[in-house]
Structures are given as structure tokens and as C-alpha cells.
């Protein structure tokens, strides 16, 4: 077997999809943990470690199962620690929220009734007459957004001023997470060199290890380059390319997200416990009653979701990408009656171009 060449996509994806990789890898890292644990126990028996250090049982390894699934454990030399920026901040929000209400559970009104009947038919319609009902609908809609991490994310997004900064001539192109994005670096000159080099690393698929070696060499020559971990953290913040961590079943059956699943204590399909604290407890109720009950618990596995909206915003805020996005509009301006050049010329897209949402009409 040749030497493994670790590409940037690989690391990016591993970082983001850490719990996707894991079963072999996790086992291996689990073994490493086990070895470490045994070594520590041996040391304790030899009396070399202090008595104040707690003994490490198999179930309470300090980093725990969630970190076995963590991204960086299988990168032997890379000690990056993940920044779960979204993790800690939303516990306060979640505690106040109750179980989600779907539209069906909302108080019944004429408008709701109308909606309900048309919901069966598959299409909903605009109703401008009853403003009060609209307000009600708004409330209902806010309730449905009580999902844990998600509301925090939807609120914490780019504002327009920040987006404008991406277009300034001082911005630097950065290839982060496989796509080019620009970062406005003029406000902070120290990042200019780092981001330039990071862009080179990403576009040429240089491994993390090689990048680090280059970095130390450059530092000897007096050029200060930030470490990968810090750079990534900075970019995550600047580009809002954070992942949303959603607890999910350890066997991958379902994610505990959305109406009906938010308060689950164990998987509805394989009965596996959602939280590490519940491991090994045989009989558990299927649901929690409130979100406050599990605010201290640690989910055993996460499904990492990368939000779409910030990336779509960046597509229009960065000049090079915005130009590419003009393709479809340009194509639509030059209709071709004979040739289907792309999806846009075919019947389905022409239907959507001529008709708004809400069709086909059943009335």
C-alpha cells in the first residue's frame, strides 16, 4: 500500500462528517483509548500517579464515546480540537421551548379549516381576507421552529453589511470546505498571509502534516502563520460555515429532530439510548416530558448538518461566484424552441417559469 495522501477535502469532510466515518476508525481509536486507560491503571498500581486522580473505569473515560466519534481522533498527528461553537450556546433557548405544535394541533379556525381541506388536496392557497388568522398562523409557525440548535442558527446569520464586506477589493479568495469563498482581510492584516497560504493548501490538496511542516519552516524565517485549527475556527466564524449538531441514534436509524422526535429518549426503531447517561439502563420511557430534563445529558452520536442558507448567501455576495450564478438567467433570455440544452429548456422547468407555487389549481 502506498502512502496515504490526505487531501483537504478529506479532512474537511472528516471534520464535518466526523461521525460518518467511524466504525472501523472508531474501533481503532477506542482501542487507543483502552490502551491509554490500561497504561494509566498500570501507572496507578505502580504508585506513580497521585491518589487524587480518579480511577478510569470503562464507562467514564474522560473524553467519552462522543469523542470516539470525533473527527480528529483518527488523525494521529493532528491534535485539532473541534470547535462546537453552536453546541453550548443554545441550551438556554431550548429549555424554554415546549414540544412542537404542528398545524393540525393549532386552534381550529375557518382559515385553518380551509387550509386543512386543501392540505389534503396537496396544495395550499393564499388568503388575504383574514388578517387575524394570518397572525395566528404566524404564531403557529414560530412554534414549529422550536428545534434545539436550529433556531439559534437561523437567527445568527449574516447581516447585509457583513455580506457586503465580501465584495470589497481587499478580500482574499479562500477555498474553504471545497468551494472558493472570499474573506475580507483588510480589517485584520495578520490574517492575510495565513489565508493566502491556506487557500494554496486547499486548492492543491496539501496534507495537514505537510502544511504544518511548512508553517514551522516559515516561522523560522519570521513569517507568522496561524495553525490550521485556528484558521479553520476563524473561517467557520467568518463564513458561517458551521455545522449544526443533531443528536441521532447510535445505530443510525433516525435523528432526534423535528416534530415527534425532539423529546425521544430512545430510538423508535432499535431502542438504543439517545444519551450516554442512559447507556445500559434497560427500561426507559420512550419520551421525555420536557427538554429541561436532558439539558445536562450528552448525546452518544451526532448527525452533523451543514446549513444551506449561509452558503447560498455567499454565492451572491462574492463576485466570482455571483458571475457564475448568472448562467441560468442568461440561458432563459435566449429561448431555443428546438433544442433542450439544459434542464431549463425542458417542460418541467418551463412550467415553473410560467407558473407560481400553488398550481396545479384545483379550484
Amino acid at each position: 500500500m502506498g502512502q496515504h495522501r490526505q487531501t483537504e477535502e478529506f479532512t474537511c469532510h472528516c471534520r464535518i462528517y466526523n461521525n460518518g466515518i467511524p466504525h472501523k476508525v472508531a474501533r481503532r481509536t477506542k482501542n487507543q483509548h483502552r490502551q491509554l486507560e490500561l497504561r494509566l491503571q498500570l501507572l496507578q498500581q505502580n504508585g506513580q500517579s497521585s491518589a487524587s486522580q480518579p480511577a478510569l473505569g470503562h464507562d467514564d473515560i474522560p473524553s467519552g464515546p462522543s469523542s470516539w466519534y470525533d473527527e480528529n481522533n483518527f488523525e494521529d498527528f493532528d491534535n485539532d480540537i473541534d470547535m462546537n461553537a453552536t453546541d453550548a450556546s443554545d441550551d438556554e433557548d431550548s429549555a424554554q421551548e415546549s414540544e412542537t405544535d404542528s398545524i393540525e394541533n393549532a386552534p381550529f379556525s375557518t382559515f385553518q379549516g380551509l387550509l386543512a381541506t386543501e392540505h389534503v388536496a396537496g396544495w395550499r392557497y393564499e388568503d388575504n381576507d383574514e388578517a387575524i388568522d394570518d397572525e395566528e398562523d404566524q404564531e403557529v409557525d414560530d412554534d414549529t421552529e422550536s428545534d434545539l440548535d436550529f433556531r439559534a442558527y437561523l437567527e445568527d446569520d449574516f447581516d447585509i453589511e457583513k455580506l457586503k464586506a465580501f465584495a470589497s477589493p481587499n478580500s482574499i479568495q479562500v477555498a474553504a470546505n471545497n468551494a472558493e469563498y472570499a474573506v475580507h482581510a483588510a480589517d485584520n492584516q495578520q490574517w492575510a498571509d495565513t489565508l493566502d497560504l491556506f487557500e494554496w493548501k486547499c486548492s492543491n490538496k496539501v496534507s495537514d502534516l505537510a502544511y504544518d511542516k511548512l508553517r514551522t519552516r516559515l516561522e523560522k524565517k519570521g513569517l507568522k502563520i496561524e495553525s490550521l485549527r485556528v484558521t479553520r475556527h476563524y473561517l467557520e466564524e467568518r463564513l458561517k460555515l458551521r455545522k449544526v449538531r443533531i443528536p441521532c441514534c447510535p445505530k443510525g436509524c433516525m435523528a432526534f429532530f423535528g416534530p415527534g422526535n425532539q423529546l425521544r429518549r430512545r430510538c423508535g426503531y432499535c431502542n438504543a439510548a439517545r444519551f450516554r447517561e442512559d447507556n445500559g439502563k434497560a427500561s426507559l420511557p420512550e419520551f421525555f416530558t420536557a427538554e429541561a430534563e436532558f439539558s445536562d445529558f450528552t448525546p452518544s452520536v451526532y448527525f452533523d448538518y451543514i446549513p444551506l442558507i449561509p452558503r447560498l448567501k455567499l454565492l451572491f455576495a462574492i463576485p466570482s461566484l455571483a458571475k457564475k450564478m448568472c448562467y441560468a438567467a442568461d440561458l432563459r433570455k435566449t429561448p431555443s424552441p428546438d433544442v433542450i440544452r439544459d434542464v431549463w429548456d425542458a417542460d418541467a422547468m418551463r412550467f415553473w417559469q410560467s407558473k407560481g407555487i400553488g398550481l396545479p389549481t384545483l379550484r
Binding site: Q3, E9, F10, H13, C14, Y17, N19, G20, P22, H23, K24, V25, R28, A121, G122, E126, Q138, I160, A175, N178, A179, G252, C253, M254, A255, F257, Y269, V301, F303, Y305, I306, P307, L308, I309, L312, K313, L315, F316, A317, A322, K324, C326, Y327, A328, R332, P337, D338, I340, R341, V343, D345, A346, W352, Q353, S354, K355, I357, G358, L359, L362
Partner: protein, 443 residues
């Protein structure tokens, strides 16, 4: 809150409205383990699908829609098992799409230096047949009503099987499998076949939703209707079932149908238990088939056609989808000429021609009817040749051959089949194969 448009406005009043294509597939990350993981991928339809274009004689690189760096990957289910409840993983995406649909997202446009309301819709959903069945909560490709586009009913085929494992090993039992001829008696006449196809009952969005809701209340109904529930993404207002979910050529034709067809032609289709049936379907002798494989290995193909052609007689099982694609389009006809009868050669030519037209970069509008006719005639020949109304030969009529009949409609709706096949999934999954190699090297 105004999120419901009145009719006839058109979704693309604003040029910046984004159209997206959702694609998913079950992927084995490690070659020899049973872990399965599902990547979710969005493809940006506002980007140019072509790699490059010639402007004033100079080749200018455009940014391809199908380049990995422009994919919007959303996540990957963690495994190790395949997800039971795919919808719960898609909930965050659904919420974001609803958010966009309602016009709550403000974005900044550099080119015009203005603020605008960003809208984005998912119009296309693709996946392989089991993937789509899971996504849309259909019964699957071996069910009584397997098809997402029509309500064709399978013909049961009962075989005696000896149970190999468990307590009752050694005993025999009946196994029922469904196969899908258009009619139990084969229509000899082309006109009759056309009328059979025309009278097929097609599914529509409303019927799908009603069926789904009915079988959610009473799961026993699911077997009759073929719909177990309504998928989360089908609730998006930009999705019309089944038009928004076209058939994927990579899985439908390249990976399953071409292999089956070659096995039928060479007489290797049936397994040990019914080996005698192979003689009925074979179009050439075993010797000829061997000679065909040797001939194929001698082909000196240009680099652009991918890997060097291998002996298909020996290595058909290890052929990748792209190789089977090239085999079907370029090598099949010259290799088979003179080895089969003239009418069989013509029928295969129809298949190759229709698939070639359907997967070309651009499709002429007049081509669509041509694809329909040629595929129809090929399918008609296929049933006449291999099935012949013989109940023993029923396993020939798999779901894949039925799916071909809907291909022309998909091409009409969405353009060339190469715009919505599943090959874009391959670069995403290849990232995972690097991980695989690392793991192998370690052990």
C-alpha cells in the same frame, strides 16, 4: 405572512432565484464491512453544466455544475445501519427550504449592489430505486406495485426454495416474487403493445398523497397501493410527484439492465436451479460469447473513453457503471454484429440509439418521440424474445425493463438524462474511499 403565491406569476421573476437538485444514495464506505451511510447532496442548477465552452475559438473554462467544489453537501447519515427514518435526517433541510420559500431570507447581490429576497427551491430529486422508495415511502422495487410513475401490478412467480439457515433448514417452502410484464399474454402486434402501454394507469401527486395518508392510517393498504406514506420532501410545493423524481439512468440502465441483458444474451441469466432455461434465452453459443470477450479485450480505445476495455465474458461482474455505459454505447454493436440474427441486431441497435439520444449533452425536441418509439419497440421485442408469455421465463421481466418505458417522459420533462443521473454522487463518495484505503493500509 405571504408565502402562497397566486397563480401564473412564475417562480423566476427574480433572476437570482436558485433552483436546486437533491440527490441521495446509499453508500458503503468500507469495502468489506456492512456499514452503510447516506450522503445528502444538493446540486446548484443555476450553474453551467458544461465543463467548458468555446468562445470566439478559445476554450474558456466555465464552472461546471457537476464539479465537486460546487456541490452543496448537506451531511451524511452516521451509519452503521441504513437510516430507518430518512425524513428525520431531512427535517433541517426541509425547515431551511420552507424558510427560503416564505421569503424570509435577505441576501446581498454584488453585481447589482443591492439587497434582495433570496429564494431557492428544490425541483429535482434523484436517487437509485431503493433510495427513492425510502425517500418517498414507496414499497420498493420488488413489491406488488413497484413503479413510482405508474400503477403496474406485478405478476406473482412462485418457486420452491429450500431453506438453508435457521431451525427449519432443509425444509422446502414456497417463495413468491413479483415480476412485471406489461400483460401476462405477450402482445405479438406492435399496435396492441402500444395500446397496452397507453392504457397504463399513471400515478399523480394527488393520488400519491391520498394513498399515502390512507395507508398511514391502515398499513395493510400499503401493499395494494404501493405507497406506505408521504415523504417529507414531497410536501415541498416545488415537488410534483412523480414528475420531479425522474429515473436515474446510471442505476436503471448501466448498472442493472445492461448486465442482465448481457447475461440473457450469453445464456448466463438463470442460476443453478433452473439452468436449463438459459438455452431458451441465449442468442449465441458459449463459444461465440467467449470469442466476443477476447475480441473486446483487443479493442484499442481512445483515452477519452475511460479505462481500457476488458474481456466482458470474464469480468462483467467487476465492470463499473461508466465502463458499462461505454460498453453499451460504443462496443456492444460492433462486437455483436454477425454473432446474432439480423432482427436481434436491429432491436439492440434501437436500444443503443435511444440511450445514446437520451444521454447526449443536448436533446432535440423531436428526438423525444424518437426515443419513445425506439425504446418501446425494443421493450416489445424484449418481451417477445425472452418472456414469450412463458411462466417459467417470468424472472426475465424485472422492474428495470419496465422503468425504461418511462424514460422518454423524463427526458421530455427534464432534458437530457445526463443532467439528472447519479454520477455526481461518485466524486463525493470517492472522498470516502480515500478513507477506506487508509484503513486498509493500516491493517
Amino acid at each position: 405572512m405571504v408565502y402562497l403565491h397566486s397563480a401564473d406569476v412564475g417562480l423566476f421573476q427574480d433572476d437570482r432565484t436558485v433552483a436546486l437538485h437533491f440527490s441521495t444514495d446509499g453508500v458503503q464506505l468500507f469495502r468489506n464491512s456492512k456499514t452503510e451511510s447516506w450522503p445528502f447532496l444538493l446540486i446548484n442548477l443555476n450553474l453551467d453544466p458544461r465543463e467548458h465552452r468555446f468562445d470566439a475559438g478559445r476554450r474558456s473554462e466555465l464552472n461546471a455544475r457537476f464539479k465537486a467544489e460546487h456541490f452543496l453537501s448537506l451531511g451524511l447519515t452516521p451509519g452503521p445501519k441504513q437510516p430507518q427514518d430518512l425524513d428525520s435526517f431531512l427535517q433541517p433541510l426541509y425547515k431551511e427550504l420552507k424558510h427560503l420559500e416564505e421569503g424570509r431570507v435577505k441576501a446581498y447581490d454584488v453585481l447589482n449592489n443591492e439587497e434582495f429576497t433570496l429564494k431557492a427551491y428544490v425541483f429535482l430529486i434523484t436517487g437509485d430505486t431503493p433510495g427513492v422508495s425510502k425517500l418517498m415511502k414507496l414499497s420498493g422495487h420488488n413489491a406488488k406495485r413497484p413503479c413510482r410513475a405508474c400503477k403496474i401490478q406485478g405478476t406473482p412467480h412462485i418457486t420452491r426454495v429450500t431453506i438453508k439457515r435457521g431451525n427449519r433448514s432443509g425444509t422446502e417452502r414456497n417463495m413468491t416474487q413479483y415480476y412485471y410484464p406489461f400483460s401476462v399474454e405477450v402482445d405479438d402486434d406492435w399496435e396492441d403493445f402500444c395500446s397496452t402501454v397507453r392504457t397504463m394507469v399513471l400515478r399523480d401527486g394527488q393520488g400519491y398523497k391520498e394513498d399515502g395518508q390512507r395507508s398511514q392510517r391502515n398499513p395493510e393498504l400499503a401493499k395494494e397501493t404501493g405507497v406506505k406514506g408521504t415523504g417529507l420532501l414531497s410536501e415541498l410545493q416545488s415537488i410534483i410527484f412523480p414528475e420531479s423524481i425522474p429515473f436515474d439512468v446510471m442505476h436503471l440502465i448501466h448498472l442493472s439492465f445492461v448486465r442482465d441483458l448481457m447475461n440473457l444474451i450469453s445464456g448466463n441469466y438463470f442460476g443453478e436451479s433452473s439452468r436449463h432455461l438459459n438455452q431458451k434465452t441465449a442468442l449465441m453459443s458459449a463459444k461465440e460469447w467467449e470469442a466476443l470477450g477476447v475480441d473486446m479485450a483487443k479493442i484499442r480505445a481512445p483515452m477519452t473513453l475511460g479505462r481500457k476495455p476488458e474481456n466482458i465474458q470474464k469480468y462483467i461482474k467487476s465492470f463499473k457503471a461508466a465502463e458499462l455505459d461505454v460498453f453499451l454505447i460504443y462496443y456492444l454493436l460492433p462486437l455483436i454484429r454477425g454473432r446474432v440474427k439480423e432482427d436481434e441486431y436491429i432491436a439492440l441497435t434501437r436500444l443503443v440509439f435511444a440511450v445514446h439520444l437520451a444521454t447526449d449533452y443536448e436533446v432535440l425536441r423531436t428526438d423525444v418521440s424518437e426515443i419513445q418509439t425506439h425504446l418501446g419497440k425494443f421493450i416489445h421485442w424484449f418481451y417477445k424474445k425472452f418472456y414469450r408469455g412463458d411462466s417459467e421465463l417470468l424472472p426475465v421481466c424485472k422492474y428495470t425493463i419496465h422503468g425504461l418505458i418511462h424514460l422518454a417522459r423524463n427526458v421530455e420533462n427534464w432534458g437530457s438524462a445526463s443532467l439528472f443521473w447519479q454520477y455526481p454522487q461518485v466524486p463525493t463518495t470517492s472522498i470516502w474511499l480515500i478513507c477506506n484505503r487508509k484503513d486498509c493500509a493500516g491493517s
